[in-house]
Amino acid sequence: MNLTRKDELMNFKMKTKQTALFIGFLFVFGMMVNVASAQKKGSVLIKNATVITITNGDMEGTDILVKDGIIAEIGKNLKAPKGAEVVDATGKFVMPGIIDAHSHLAITNGVNEWTNPVTAEVSMEDVIDPNDVGMYAALAGGVTSIHVMHGSANVIGGQGETIKLRYGADQEGLKFSEAPRTIKFALGENPTRVHGQGFNVQPRSRMGVEQIVRQTFDAAIDYKAKRDAYMEEFAKWNKRKKGDQPNPVAKNIRYDVINDIIAGKVLVHCHSYRADEIGMLMRVFKDYGVENYTFQHVLEGFKVAPELAKHKAHASTFSDWWAYKFEVYYASAYNAAIMNKYGVVTSINSDSEELIRHLNHEAAKVVKYGGVTDNEALMMITLNPAKQLGIDKYVGSIEKGKQADLGIWSAHPLSIYAICEQTFVDGTSYFNKANDPADMRLVISPEDDYELVVSAGRNNDSCMEGVFEVLGEQTHSHE
């Protein structure tokens, strides 16, 4: 691989004394952060790679030209415009940046507002932690966008936020600005356990879960009628300002979000396991006209794959992760492949700051267990999650006009030996294995020890974060 000027500087400094090294390090580090926070749309020419387009097959010996963050051309013998960086990718593979439709990275102070069965009003948008070094680890696994989600303690949880891993940017700068709004729903044991079992508040059963959804939607529709009538009256009054101002119906942020779901402005991502509850929610959504939703986890999706396809519901699942609680005992590693075969838009997600670093391996398992093609497997971590998040117009495949979120891999990404060497977001390099300092923390407290790093692992960022300690339970199951 060609070294960039930054890399060369780094290498040169490495050969000099320690003092010079750390000055050089700071210089390079500072440059990287500056570039990131300015959210530069990069221009780069990646030369002579095997390009895995996802939508148009694999193209050998092919160049990708990126101008100002957008893929300008895909072809042979392309020429770099003046000043553009050139990366020689001979013998390497380029694939679209991986998209994780289920993540709890980069969240400040609480994944679960678990205190109420319905919390549509809260949003991850308000609590993004741009300093989570887990984002850098994800970049090193070729991931470029993640869906930051509320936990699964509530039937109707909080709104999610789709972000691009522009590591070093601030809360605003991380946002995937074109992405539609999303919201988390959750069925089954988590909400019944927290609210019913924990506080004797509805729902205590799966039947209660359905009723919470229906009651909330009905109340929201009722509120909307009253609020709209008031707004109309107010508009009339506001023109002439004669007589008393009409009595206001206060804006209800929670119900506004529910009405936006019904209007199709907010995409539902629903935590689910069992076939019966999956069927239930599809019926409820049909009643209220909600479309274009995604079941998360959906471990028994294979039992209702034709029904999922019929309702055009999407599925975002694990490759082979089950038996961590009772409702998850019936599962199959063939789940993704079966749903895929029935035409369900299926993705493989991480729900973990560790798994997110090798989602390519997770996709490879679907080839092993379900016999899907390589391209279908890679689609499950690129274009399909993009569809589920409503961002497939912009990312998820390597096509002219799409945003240049790309990963350069040392071998075919489904190979266990493949290593992600460089990751681009908007044509800007945010991870480069040739220049990968040991300590990538953005914020360092004068009082911290060097060794203090947040530990990664499945149990640490679970969907039920913050809930069990309050319930006084010892169990720390993942889901």
């Binding site: 009003e121 308000d126 509320h150 909080g158 601030d170 300092p437 300590d439 004068p446």
Partner: protein, 453 residues
Amino acid sequence: MHKLSLGLLLSLSLFSQTKAQQLPAYAFKNVTIHTHDGKSIEKASIVWRNGSITDYGTKVSIPFDAKVTDGGDSLHIYPGFIDGFSEMAAPDEKPNTDRVEKPGEPPYDRSGIQPERIPSASADFSKKDVKDAQKEGFTSALIGLKGLMLPGQLDFFHLGGKDAQSNLLVSSLGQKGAFKNTRNVYPSTLMGTMYLFRQLWENASALQIKQQSYESNPTKNDNPGRDLTLEALYPVINKKQPLYFQADDKESIERILKLKKELGFDLVLVSAKEAFRYTDLLKKEKVPVLVSFDFPGKPDWKVKEEKAEKAAKEAKKDSTNAKTDSTIAKKVEKEVPADIIAFRAKQMSAYNDFVKNTKTLLDAGLNPGFSSIGLKWADFSKNIESMIEAGMTENELVSVLTENTAKVLGLSNQTGKIENGYLADFAVFTKPFTAKKAKLLQRVVKGEVYELN
């Protein structure tokens, strides 16, 4: 807020007109007077009566009835320091963790929504923090109660005696706020807290309109009833009162600026330990800042290094030991790996940023005032020393502790300066207050002299 303080000022001046001749005057002579703007007047005198300054300078005629203290050219008088945001007299409150029936619908107070609370009703001026602040030369403070997202109003007090009511100078200067949530009821998270601020604004605004319609036409319109908690938010919603909001890290500052933009209240940013990252924005948005003098400690390794250096220097005087010590020091240095050296450089730069925070805000023209929030009073003079080491001057410190704070609180027409007609609040030191071994001798609060023992 301004109405209140104006009313108070009026009543104060009325008071002085009627009783002026009955109360004796006080004076210091042969002292050095340090004014808020960094000037020092040597061999000066200052006279006050009825709690207000009547004259000061080098050509002062001291009234015949004045009780005079001769400073003998060795006393230094400063405007009394003002703590712009503090919990010093707030009673300690045990958080209520009892289970509620529906954790999603708790009563206001369980969520930390208590804007109707008034500090003067429960402030305790015999608390240690009050004494500690007095020892440092503070004569007044804006005080709020302890709590969560909206713990109550902020009252401005003199730090005189132990009686809260007689210390009270201006009530309800602002609302106190923070991103603080409980764990076992709504809001149990930051995102829940963000939402609640928004929904409270919606609910209070609607109730206010309903109440206005009812008042204007009670026979025709429905009576919406009262809600003292929501009503306590009206002054902030109507921009008659600012929201004093504690936020330290960069993201918290971004979040409160976002809420300010959405809800349109007047904001005073408090504590603001990472405000140095935001000087341009704070200036553009015209957000007043009350900065905390609390900052993280020096990294452990640096403290050790400095100790070793000091020891080595002392050892150098003894030439026989010098050689062995320097070789040991070199050995230790060689063992530090490159990534740790890089880490340490970042740590030192972070430390310096924090120490220089107040100075950075001053240099940016933000005129920050002072808040003791988060600060252990035992660290006050130590931290001032570090700030001076990092480039701050005594004059700058004085302006932060006096005039700037008074300005942020909207009280610069009555306190924060040594000026005729201003409150007779001073701190009397044996030397310039940042000089080594400077001691506070007396405080004058509302004209009353408090000896420091």
